[in-house]
């Protein structure tokens, strides 16, 4: 059995239902094992979603991103007033509502997934020029949002610990440098998934770092 055949088998897959041929292939192929492992992890995670989880409303940012995507594709429109209010305020409101700064990275990462990865990887819909424009808008938006968070995180750096502050600042410079390089790569090769992947990873690193900074920062500053 070849990898492609196994992928077809996996479309109808359930745990314990693999044929001997598929099992033999899995034994020999690390990539397919990784794929099955991912599927099992997804299934396990889905299984853990209890009734309480199902009662939860989806996070507000999912709607914001979905709506932004629909607007970008011209499927819905919104008034200028509403646009200004949402653009200026939704991220601030979102951050303001976070009582535990340690969660900041996770929230930003989710936003990035929605705004950059999902939005830009779709091959259908907008043409190349529109996709480039979406990409530019998404990166500008993410940068702007991260800049706001950064500003708050920098103010809260512990003043009594110059070494710690210097380390955090230095690493922020490192990440910002990579973001700039990756954005340049994406501009030069907008269709390169690898370039996008690195850019996404760099944004995620910055979000994690800002989360660490806020976590170590002085509350209320």
């Amino acid at each position: 059995m070849q990898c492609q055949e196994l992928e077809q088998v996996l479309e109808q897959w359930s745990p314990g239902s693999l044929s001997p041929e598929a099992s033999a292939h899995l034994e020999a192929c690390a990539n397919c094992r990784a794929l099955v492992s991912d599927l099992e992890a997804i299934q396990e995670a889905a299984g853990r979603l209890g009734q309480e989880d199902l009662k939860l409303a989806p996070p507000a940012h999912l709607w914001v991103n979905l709506r932004a995507q629909l607007e970008a594709e011209g499927l819905i429109r919104k008034s200028r007033e509403e646009k200004e209010r949402v653009t200026a305020g939704w991220f601030g409101v979102w951050w303001g509502g976070i009582s535990r700064p340690a969660l900041a990275g996770a929230y930003v990462a989710l936003l990035l997934v929605a705004a950059v990865f999902v939005g830009l990887k779709s091959d259908f819909g907008p043409g190349a020029s529109q996709q480039t424009a979406m990409l530019a808008a998404a990166t500008a938006s993410v940068n702007s949002e991260l800049k706001d968070v950064e500003s708050g995180a920098m103010k809260g750096l512990p003043k009594g610990d110059p070494d710690l502050s210097a380390t955090l600042r230095h690493n922020l410079e490192v990440v910002d440098n990579f973001i700039a390089l990756c954005e340049k790569s994406v501009r030069e090769e907008p269709k390169s998934e690898l370039a996008r992947e690195y850019l996404y990873g760099a944004y995620q690193q910055k979000a994690e770092l800002l989360s660490a900074m806020m976590d170590r920062g002085v509350p209320g500053e």
Binding site: H25, H170, V174, V175, Y198, A202
Partner: protein, 292 residues
């Protein structure tokens, strides 16, 4: 015959001893505030340490007991410990605001049962863990993490600290911005390391069914393999270079690799391809070297 000594000489000697003791006391401020606590536990305890600066050392023993020895020089901090069932919490607690890093410094020597779970968070200094075989989470800013003969699911998140893992078992997930990561003689079947500007070194066996994902933006990723290793390899450096000493065969499973344009990349199988090795760097150097 008894020695006779004048009262003035005896007083002088006593005064000298007291002075010497005082000098010694001043010369060793690290022991100015020392505490030792013992906790009886069952099975697999969870030990959580929350500190800012200093050395945290964790070792194991066979006893069902956790011993925490902490010392700090400043009277402006204290060490808090608490036991709730099988969970032991240790924290350096500031008694005043705006303490300097030196005042916040505390060192810990912790002895735990072998299968303990650890959760350690600190800013700077060093964390050393030896021969503990439970799941572990480390969260540091600049503190270096040194793990030796540990096992379980190891998660290390550090901003700029280095990570050295020697003869570790199980699974590891490292995320750093500028820290270097070294995995020496690991016996790990799931390795995921990401650093932005740090170097990554993997010097050990690729286990059958193992998955090894190493990624950075700049710096060097080096993996060392032996003739008996067996892995499928993908190595991509978008702007940097890939240096390879492994004689790779085309993928035997019919898989095709779409090499990114303008990237240096390698794709192939070494021996039977039992493990999956995925190396990627934005502008760094990837080295696949045969172990001497």
């Amino acid at each position: 015959m008894m020695n006779s000594e004048s009262p003035s000489k005896a007083s002088l000697r006593t005064a000298s001893l007291v002075a010497a003791g005082f000098v010694l006391l001043l010369a060793s401020p690290a022991f100015a505030h020392r505490m030792e606590k013992h906790f009886t536990v069952n099975g697999r305890p969870v030990i959580s340490v929350h500190s800012s600066h200093g050395r945290i050392s964790v070792k194991s023993w066979k006893k069902a007991e956790v011993v925490v020895v902490g010392d700090h020089s400043s009277p402006k901090v204290e060490v808090d410990t608490e036991q709730a069932g099988n969970r032991i919490e240790v924290a350096t607690h500031a008694l005043n605001d705006n303490l300097t890093p030196a005042e916040m410094e505390a060192n810990y020597e912790i002895t735990v049962p072998e299968e303990s779970e650890l959760q350690i968070r600190t800013d700077s200094g060093v964390v050393v863990v030896e021969r503990v075989y439970g799941d572990m989470v480390f969260d540091t800013v600049a503190a270096n993490v040194q793990l030796e003969e540990v096992g379980g699911y190891l998660v290390v998140k550090t901003v700029g600290g280095s990570v050295v893992c020697t003869r570790c078992l199980g699974r590891i997930d490292v995320n750093s911005i500028s820290g270097n990561v070294e995995l020496l003689q690991p016996q790990m079947e799931n390795v995921h390391v990401q650093t932005s500007s740090g170097n990554i070194l993997f010097d050990g066996d690729f286990l059958r069914r193992g998955i090894y994902i190493l990624k950075n933006y700049s710096g060097v990723i080096e993996v060392r393999f032996s003739d008996t290793d067996s892995f499928d390899l993908t190595a991509t450096s978008m702007k940097g270079t890939v240096e390879n000493q492994a004689k790779l065969k085309p993928d035997p499973h019919g898989r095709r690799f779409n090499a990114p344009q303008q990237a240096k990349s390698l794709f192939g199988t070494f021996n039977e391809g039992h493990a999956k090795v995925d190396l990627s760097s934005y502008s760094g150097t990837i080295r696949i070297r045969k172990r001497e």
